[in-house]
Every structure is written in C-alpha cells, then in structure tokens.
Symmetry: C2
Subunit: 351 residues, 2 copies
Amino acid sequence: MDERKKQILHTLIRDYVDVGEPVGSRTIAKKYGLGVSPATIRNEMSDLEEMGFIMQPHASAGRVPSDKGYRYYVDNLMEPEEKLLSDEEQQQVTDFFRNCTEEMEQLFQQSCKLLSCMTNYTAMLMKPKLEACVLERLKLVRLNDNQLLAIMITDDGKIHNKIVRLPAEISDDSLAEAEALLQERLLGLSFAQVLDCLTSEIAHQLLQQQSRLQQALALMQQLLLDYSEEDAGGKMLIQGTLNLLKQPEFHDVDTVRELFTVLETDAVVKELLLMASQQRQGTVVYIGDELSSRGMSACSMVTTPFYVNGEKVGSIGVLGPTRMPYPKIIALVEQVGSLVSRKGGGHGADK
Amino acid sequence: MDERKKQILHTLIRDYVDVGEPVGSRTIAKKYGLGVSPATIRNEMSDLEEMGFIMQPHASAGRVPSDKGYRYYVDNLMEPEEKLLSDEEQQQVTDFFRNCTEEMEQLFQQSCKLLSCMTNYTAMLMKPKLEACVLERLKLVRLNDNQLLAIMITDDGKIHNKIVRLPAEISDDSLAEAEALLQERLLGLSFAQVLDCLTSEIAHQLLQQQSRLQQALALMQQLLLDYSEEDAGGKMLIQGTLNLLKQPEFHDVDTVRELFTVLETDAVVKELLLMASQQRQGTVVYIGDELSSRGMSACSMVTTPFYVNGEKVGSIGVLGPTRMPYPKIIALVEQVGSLVSRKGGGHGADK
DNA sequence: GTTAGCACTCTAACCTATCGAGTGCTAATA
DNA sequence: TATTAGCACTCGATAGGTTAGAGTGCTAAC
C-alpha cells in the first residue's frame, strides 16, 4: 500500500461520502489534482479493487469503498483536521450542555436526541446498569398485615419500590429491627454488592436471629433478582429511527422493514453497544458487515463510552449508513460522550 | 340509492378489499351473479361514481371505493354474518384471555400486541387516566430533615412516589398528624377528587391548624399537578407499527415517513382515541380523511372503549389501510375490547 | 512508470409498439 | 322504459429497441 494508493483511496472515500455516487478516475484526477492522469489512477484503482478496498457496483461504473476500505480509512487515513466540528456545531453542543438538566434520565434522553438531530442518523444510548448504582436509602413500610413496601433510593436519584408479600405476620419491632439491620449493612453498597451480601452473610445472620425474617429476606432477594434480570446489559434508549428514512440507502421498503425490525427488538443493538463498551479503546466504530446482523449491513455504528466517577458506566452512539462522514461523526459522538460524562459526574437525588 | 346500487357497492367493496385491485363491471357481473349484464352494472357504477361512492384511479381502470363509499358500507351495508370471526381467530382470542395476566399494565400491552398480530395492522390503546384511579394508600416517609417521600398506591396496583422538599423543618409529630389527616380525607377518592379536595377544604383546614404544613401541602399539590399534566388524555400504547410496512399501500418511503412521524409523536392518535371515546356509541370507525391528518389519509381506524366497573376508562383500537376488511376488524376489536373490560373489571394490587 | 487513445461495456433514459382491461356510447331488444 | 350487445376509444403496463454517457481496460507510445 504505497503513498499514492492511500491518497487515492482517501480521496475516493471523501468524494463518495460527499456526493453519494460511484467515483471515477477522471473525477479523482480533476477535482483533486494529484498530478497524474486518469489512466494512472485507473491502474491504481484496479489494484485497490484487487486488494478489496473498493469495488464496482457494475462494470463501467465508478468505484465505491468497500467495508474494508472504510475500515482502512478509519484506522489509517483519517486526519485530525477532518475531525473538527464546524463552529455552529460546536456552538450547538456547548449550548445544549450549558442549559441541559442535571437529572440523569433526562440528560440521557436529551443527549440522544441531540445526537440524532445533529447527525440526522439514529442515536442510541445504553444506560448505566443498576448494578453499579449505590444504594443510598432503604425503607420498609408496612402496608398491612401481610404486605410490605420496600423502597430503595439509589445515588442516581431513582426511587425503586416493590410490594413484598409476607408469608407470615411480623411484628412492628421485628420489622424495625430488620430495617435497621439492612440499612446498616447495605447502605453505601452498589446493587451488585447488595446482591452478594444478601445471598451470604446477612442472610445467615438473620436466619439465626429470627426464622420468620428469613422469609421476608428471601423476598427482598427476589426483588433484587428481578431487577438484576431486567438490568442485564443496561437499558437502551433509541432516538431518531425515522431519520434513517431520509437516507437514500434506505429508499426501499423491504430494507427498511428489516432494519427497523432489528432496531425494534433492540437486543442486537444492545449487544453491540455492550461489546463496544468492553473494548479497551474508547470510541469504537463498527462498519457494515462488522455489525453482523442482516438488515444492518448497509449501516455503520460509532459509539463511545461515558463515565461516572471515573468508571465506564454506559455508551452513547450513532447508527447511520456506511456511507457516513466518519471523522465528523466520531468527533461529535466523542464530544457528546465526554460532556455526558462531565455532567453525569456528580449527580444525585439531592441536587 | 336503490337496492341494486347497494348490492353493487357492497360487492365492489368486498372484492376490492379482498383482491386489492380496481374492480370492473365484468368482475362484478361474473364473480357475483346479480343476473344482469356488465353493461347494466356499468351504468349503475357510473351513477355511483357521480354520487361519490366510488372512483376511478384513471380512466379505463375499474372502480375503487372512496372514503364516502367505505363510510356508507360501514354504516349501512355490512351484514351481521360478515362480522363473524373464523373459528381459529375466535380460539386465538379466547385462549389469549384465558391465559393472560391479571396485571393491568401487562394486560394492556399484551392485548395491544394480540390485536396487532391478528390484524397485521397497528394496534393502539389509551390507558385509563390516572384521574379515575382510586387512592388506596398514602404514606409520607421522612428521608431527612428537609426531604419527604410521598408514596401513593392506587387501585390499579401502581405505586406512585415522589420526593418532596420541605421548605422548613417539621417535627415527627406534625408529620404523623399530617399523614393521618390526609389519609382520613383522601383515601378512597379518585385522583381527580383528591385534587379537588386538596385545593379546597383540607388545605384550609390544615392552614388553620399549622401554617408550616401549608407549605408541605402545597408541595403535595404540586406533585399531583405534575401527574395530572402528564396524565392529560391518558397514556398511549402503540404496537406493531412495522406491520403497516407489509401493506402494499405503504410501499413508498415518503408515505411511510409521513405516517410514522405522526405515529411517533402520538399526539394526533391520542386526540383521535380521545374523541372516539367521548362518542356515545361504542365502537367508532374513522375512515381516510376523517382522520384529518396528513400522512394518514390512506388509513382507517377502528376503536372501541373498554370499561372498569361500568365506567368507560380507555380505548383500544387498530389503525390500518382504508382498504381493510371492516366487519372482521370491527368484530375483533370489539371482542378484544369487551374481554379487556371483563379482565380489567376486578383487578388491583392485592391479587 | 506514465499517459493518450480507443474500443468496449453497461446503465439509464427515452421512445415506440402492442396488448388488454375497462369504459362510455349507441342502437337494438324485450 | 329498462336492459343489453356491440363497438370504438382510452389508458396503463409491458416489452423491445435505440441512444447517450460514463467509465473502464488495454495497447502502444512517450
């Protein structure tokens, strides 16, 4: 892969992303003077095609980047100056984060919306897992003889509650005792830790102290298990699905149906965001078939994690056609990601 | 509108709904022997067109029902035997409701899904307004010196809660007193009544008793106002939007985008369901332009209310192309509606 | 190694002819 | 007077053919 090939590939991709039509040798030679003739470029393009970086939609059309081509571009060719946002864009983002709410749930939703509006693609966000939330308060409130309301407040300001049925009656004193014990042991722990704790130590202790409570405890456990199930992999937000309909690559209803079906179930998307967030690097770009899901092979995804207290807790990203202006999108996603991190840094119920 | 014209219109609509293509005079004469020749039918069709019941997509094509035609069909021509569900369909519905959950939220969602699956259209449901829910329990739990957690449990089994900031400190005694008073006055009332109550009587009383509480009360009020705002017109469920893509009338991406944009905001749909539920009759059918929204002129909507304790509390319905088998869809919607009513009849948190 | 020239290929767009479905009209019929 | 057969006409859809243009690949010259 010599320098000139790189230049040609780079140029071709930029032009194709810009214009949306196969790029011919003449165009490359003319629009972006490389000082060589179309014929030379043709030869190089022929090589690039053999190498799998570009392809022809049909004989006697120009060339189009392949997934591999985009991949090479993203990994090796993009230049820092391509990654700059325009002044208005920059302004729009900072304005948004200056005025936005501190409340996490809304912050997530609005950030998602911001991304989808600015890119005209679909934006998605994986919320922090509950697991990582710290239990700040715990209350047990008796509803009647055999029903108990468990209230938990976590450090993200959410109130969780559930009605627990008591298998046997329980005295006010025992209840207060149980509450105090649970509070002492569990407050300040993350949900994940709470779960551990509950299954081991305290359970034993309580079991010794009072066998009736054992059952109440089992119910508490059940409650948390409920959460951890529905919590698996965090919850998803998706914004601006309809934006994709504006893209020329989705002008066929069957394609659209396939794609939307995938998005609707959101299991696939979730898995991808999860995979991305487990990578060591920050921003991850999936291109075309790397998304490994039928219906999304014409798409690319750019995601970046966001942090709370230095810990990776979620991801935010964008799904668009493979033919997307990667540098700009990457810059935007990263920018938004880092601002979500900053805003989310010190949040809570009591703000 | 003589008898024969009615017959012809009826036949034409049935055939068109079935086949999906403009119906000619020959087809009507042949497939459904009316004992007259195509020429006669042509004359009648010409009249029907003048009257606005049918139209030609282009000269020298067959005829297609107009919105007005469908309307006449729905109002005057449908026969009871057309409204029967097939055995399998009947089976499917009863099976579903035999096995379904008692929990309201899930019942709604699943009924919606059932409708969308069986019709292959989009199903929608307007949940009961909170307003109508009866307050069953009310608890005030102190979180710390200046925060209070208000917990309300309504008769549909939902737990509502909100953190209320106290402008000034309040003693445990006053709190208990306030709680007791509120419980005494508010429990057993609907949210709407609670709201009334709170703004008038009790507020006065409390104001006299203890001016500090006044502010806490104001906050409670605020909390309920929040609810009543977001509650305006009930919340919506929409299921199976993608089904519409299967319909041949939505094979154009621009149409789809327009339609989906309307569905996404769901304000329009909500308004329609609301309007429908205010009608005196049960089931309401909106046809084509009667939906009076751009992007939905190729659609029809069939909705029916459902009841809890004899009171109309919500609606459930289906949105499909104007070319839909009205009798069947109406029958299905009504059937599901009445079963939702029955299931929802005696529900609650303690089941 | 690079380039000009040229033949070749393939698509998209346009035109044309043809076919068939369905109509509307007219005149004959019961 | 209502019905019908017959017929000319319209229009959309389909298929085939032509053309224009873009772009290539190859070859031979620089």
